[in-house]
Symmetry: C2
């Protein structure tokens, strides 16, 4: 591939960015106006607004509302070439990335391939408890949740029906809290009038957290407010409770079995495997321990940003794995490169600016924390809504998302309640192994 190999021989620097999430996209945008040639590589064709992914998983938003093609987002930045491909290795000495379709030389490399969900060594749990990182994950969860109610409607035996109406969410962070709250709303408000044999209001949503409180990234009093708001929505919460087993019939909570046909995983993440291939030290989750300027030790031309980077700031605080941190890292690295090309190296290290944290719980319920300011309930929910709609990429998406929310708000309906996936009809219609 001729074009790709000219990277280091050309006079304009060639920057390769691996990953089109918040970090990679911010880096690409940060390089606008420079002489650099930029190649952005992603396995998928779209940037995903991950903070709203739970809305796709719970049928509130359609996928195109929270995803936009990377090449559409970057179409005006003609120095950027977007390629849908996957990096499988990096040759640090030769400064080449190995892609599935061939090799590509770089002058600077920005690795922003993020994280995926992890099962703490229990990979067999994945089949029974899907996690939520990609659109396809969201479709899997949506399909399982909607099919569970369909199966309950078909089931005459009360115990087996109830098993289809029991839902377990493992993990009390933001994703777990959002999924549990929305599931409870779905069962209590959206579905009841539509079923004749099963009663969706009999659904139990159980949120299990191994630690002592929900939302550990928030102040303890907000954790408690979130717990109370979730309780009010009908979610049952078990704190200090470890899940010790998951199979097709349910979960083990410490030594007590809990029957549930639907289990969702929101407990653990692990860094992209690319991190370990870079040869630098990684932390327990596989995140790369980078220099204060986010470069790899001994390789000032290679940067690791976003969820794949483990960064400890001067004040000793670790940078959290959140979207704003990834964006800030992307912009910072672009600035480091610009300064270097201008011959005036940037001396200040990366510093994370904490703009606050937000988590939604359900209809008009949320918690928010901005420095010392703490909000909960309706006001936090409005702030959450405003912030998320503002940061959504693309004007059209914002309009449609607002319209969907307004519609859901007034009607309690959720518009994306469709079961798709090539396995949907057979999964629904054929008895599961331990069923019937």
């Amino acid at each position: 591939m001729d074009d790709r190999n000219q990277g280091s021989s050309s006079s304009t620097p060639h920057v390769v960015i691996l990953g089109g999430g918040f970090g990679g996209l911010a880096a690409a945008r940060g390089l606008a106006g420079t002489a650099a040639r930029v190649s952005l590589i992603d396995r998928r064709n779209h940037h995903l607004f991950q903070p709203l992914l739970y809305q796709v998983a719970t049928a509130g938003l359609s996928a195109p509302s929270i995803a936009a093609p990377l090449r559409q987002i970057l179409r005006r930045q003609t120095q950027v070439t977007v390629l849908m491909d996957e990096a499988i290795d990096v040759d640090l000495a030769q400064r080449r990335v190995r892609l599935r379709s061939g090799d590509m030389a770089y002058d600077a490399l920005i690795v922003a391939t993020g994280a995926t969900h992890a099962y703490f060594g229990h990979d067999d749990w994945e089949a029974h408890a899907p996690g939520l990182k990609t659109l396809d994950d969201a479709f899997t969860i949506r399909r399982r949740v909607l099919l569970a109610f369909e199966r309950a409607e078909r089931e005459d035996d009360p115990a087996r029906r109830q098993a289809w109406l029991n839902f377990v969410v493992v993990g009390g962070g933001a994703t777990g809290v959002e999924l549990a709250g929305t599931l409870a709303e779905l069962a209590r408000h959206t579905l009841p009038r539509e079923f004749r044999r099963a009663d969706p209001r009999q659904a139990n949503v159980l949120l299990v957290e191994a630690g002592p409180r929900l939302l550990p990234a928030f102040a303890p009093d907000l954790s408690e407010k979130a717990r109370l708001q979730l309780r009010r929505l009908g979610v049952e919460i078990r704190l200090d409770t470890a899940v010790t087993a998951i199979d097709g019939s349910g979960v083990m909570l410490a030594a007590t079995p809990y029957t549930a046909r639907t289990v969702l995983w929101a407990a653990g993440v692990a860094a992209s495997p690319l991190g370990r291939l870079l040869g630098a030290p990684v932390d327990r989750a596989g995140r790369v321990l980078v220099q204060p300027d986010l470069s790899l030790p001994g390789h000032p031309e290679l940067f690791v940003i976003g969820d794949l980077a483990s960064v400890t700031q001067e004040n000793g605080q670790p940078v959290p794995g959140v979207a704003p941190a990834a964006k800030q890292m992307g912009r910072y690295v672009a600035e480091v490169l610009r300064a270097r090309w201008q011959g005036t190296p940037l001396m200040r290290p990366f510093r994370y600016r904490d703009d606050g944290v937000l988590a939604t719980i359900g209809r008009m319920a949320a918690v928010a924390q901005f420095g010392r300011i703490k909000l909960s309930g309706l006001l936090a929910w409005w702030v959450w809504l405003l912030a998320h709609v503002t940061f959504l990429i693309g004007f059209r998406n914002r309009l449609v998302v607002l319209l969907d929310w307004a519609w859901s708000y007034w009607t309690y309906q959720r518009h994306a309640r469709i079961v798709t996936g090539s396995d949907a009809p057979s999964r629904a219609s054929q008895p599961l192994p331990d069923d019937e």
Copy 2:
């Protein structure tokens, strides 16, 4: 399953409807206000507005905009129980339907399971030339079309790149014309500015029709207008041309090979296999030859409607396999049953009222025919838009569809350009057998 077996023993009649398409849904609605207990069975959880399915396949609309859960549509009609299940056989003598989850007795049965695409004995073509009947079909087509442009962008060899930019649509009926016109627009207007190495304007869209003209359901002069409008959009049209082979490298047009990595099938349909199980005569496409009142010969309690029924009217004209005909049949059968229960049997046979035919070709181009009135171009396009938005189920869908179209119209963008499907990353990233 106790509840299901009470069908014929209960004093209120139990009507079972198989299929929640236009026909089945119209029948269920037509039975509103009667004493009947109605069970509507569908393999999928949603009703699909099939006339706009090509818009999902070409990334113009998101799936939830054209699909709504059957139980949501029928939620206020409390006599109707919707079950997501699949009928695999019918016992005419015992009046029982065999579902995957068990048996169900009926007093009246309405079979409305429709049609699927057929490959005229060439089932091996399906892997290379997907058809368009379900949402999952639409996602498959969307994925292949979007990935073809992505592959072209990655490809350095001019001949192989062009193979990814060549698209063949087989079949010149409404679906084929709509797909070809929209593909040409996508390549010429939506994508060009976003690619750096491949030029989407180099894409060829070839529409192949075995018969002498496009849109055979329309008057010949409208077929010619459609051909001219498609030509103007950049579609190449081959009439009187049979496709004799399809594989991963392209198609054979009579004896001439044409290289194209993407082939779409819009040529043939076959009736649902349930039709042949009813024991009555079927036509060549497997459609059931029904009585003038749409009942099965010898079985006045069993009706076949929609695309699965072969109906010849008193005037000798066959009823076309279109959505309005299916709706009219559903309403008619509900009327037959009402009259029968009231002891005043309906004597008039089913008559199809032709409200006209419409086909869209592309941006502001369409053809329409209402009796003697024929329209083409911009005016037909406005009529088409109005008619389709009006008949879309659900107020919210109409608003969002209008918004999507207005947005597409002004920006030339198509908002649902996301590649999903569990095989998306691997398909894109791993070399195809005959590639590279």
